[in-house]
Amino acid sequence: MKHLVILGAGTAGTMMANHLNHHLKKPDWQISIIDERKEHHYQPGYLFLPFDIYSPEDIIKNIEDFIPKQVELIKATIDKVLPKENKVKMADGRELNYDVLIVATGAKIAPEETEGMKGSEWQKSVFDFYTFEGSLALRNKLRDWQGGKLVVHITEMPIKCPVAPLEFAFLADSFFKHKHMRDKVEITYVTPLSGAFTKPKATEALEHLLHDKNINIESDFAIEHVDNEKKQIVDYGGREIPFDILVTVPTNKGDAVIERSGMGDDLNYVPTHKATLQSKEYSNVFVLGDASNIPASKAGSVAHFEAEILTDNILHFIKGEPLKEEFDGHANCFIETGNGKALLIDFNYTHEPVEGSFPFPGVGPLRLLKESRMNHMGKLAFRWIYWNVLLKGTHIPFVSATMSESGKHYA
């Protein structure tokens, strides 16, 4: 019996287990998935938890509820992968041989990369919202905060869900308005980029919104350290930005197991072919989701589109057929803008987000790059879709894995 092993039972790994379970069956194939955690977290929910929009129960479920029965779920810590020997070693000494390996170990925050970030003010006035603990600590802080300087900050790119810090700033504006204390809060958005986002047309639209909501923007800020005593962040050029609350997105890195296995780049991301999702170094290793170094957004929607294409490619690989060079970097993201509205962006490696309608050209019902209530309803509905459709690897009707150019207004 041949063995396919998936590392990581997060969004990407779970989807692959569900997809491949339909195709690779006993007695020819055994599929195993390894993860040390008990819980599956709906990570987009971390954005809503600080504002009491979601509660912890909305975000957390059991990992095993989403893994098909025929797939062996191994709850263990991975020590390292030995890719030359086609073997995975676990911390408890167990070893697992594989014929095909899927790496879906994700990305994590690494606040220790920045001097002073995990210092005396950590989770007192310096917070992250990319972990459940960080997001919850921030919720407790915001519940009775009396106001002051709120700084929303990105340490360096790439990060998971590059729009999340912007959404945080927009939701904070809305949150303090509802609490009738917006005039007591100064919100500043600090980014290492030259503008609000990475792509020109979306940057224009988003900067307009920041301006409307009276949110200051400080761009080209490459942080050197967090000064816990003076409560300010300082960049390499000596620029200082004071805060009462700092909400930072620390450096993101691939999992430490990638480093231990010698399979990653300087940020522990696995070098991966961007159109086939095959590892550049080992032909029987495939990578999807946040763990790879492909130049696509690190987002659940990207992992979802990748999973459809990767499933085909793994079946091709097993049959000895050439792989399809099909993945185009497709990403589809709702951007919460506060007050019950949201934007939607749809883009890929070569096409930046523009205005238009989605998913039906000229019809919608969702509008691209424009604020609407319908988009916000889409974002909220997405949590249900995530738990009930996405993780199970079911195709989402009318939304193809590769991006459609129709209905979009390219110049």
Binding site: E156, M157, P158, L193, S194, T198, E224, Y236, D266, K298
Partner: protein, 102 residues
């Protein structure tokens, strides 16, 4: 679009970056540096040459990589090319603005 730099007509994009590295030479680097109010020292040239080599080798550039390169640390990189060093230095070096961001 075209712009006259150091007496030559050079192809640039709307942000002022050269679109064809083959058109670059040291006199163009000098003039672009002057526009950014930087006078180039041998130390600047070491960094610029390093950036051009990385570009030719198709290595994506980021502040982090440069800091770990052994050529220059981030603090000095900021002293040499103040405010937004990677953007300024790549412009002077005649290579594209790094797309370090998705």
């Amino acid at each position: 679009m075209e712009k006259i730099i150091a007496g030559k007509s050079i192809a640039i994009n709307e942000e002022g970056y050269l679109t064809d590295f083959k058109q670059w030479d040291k006199s163009i680097g000098e003039e672009l540096a002057a526009e950014a109010e930087i006078s180039l020292t041998p130390r600047h040239w070491e960094v610029l040459t390093y950036l051009q080599t990385e570009y030719k080798n198709e290595v994506p550039l980021s502040i982090r990589k440069i800091g770990k390169s052994g050529v220059v640390d981030i603090k000095e990189f900021y002293q040499l090319f103040p405010k937004a060093p990677l953007k300024t230095a790549t412009k002077i070096a005649g290579i594209p603005k790094p797309a370090s961001c998705i």
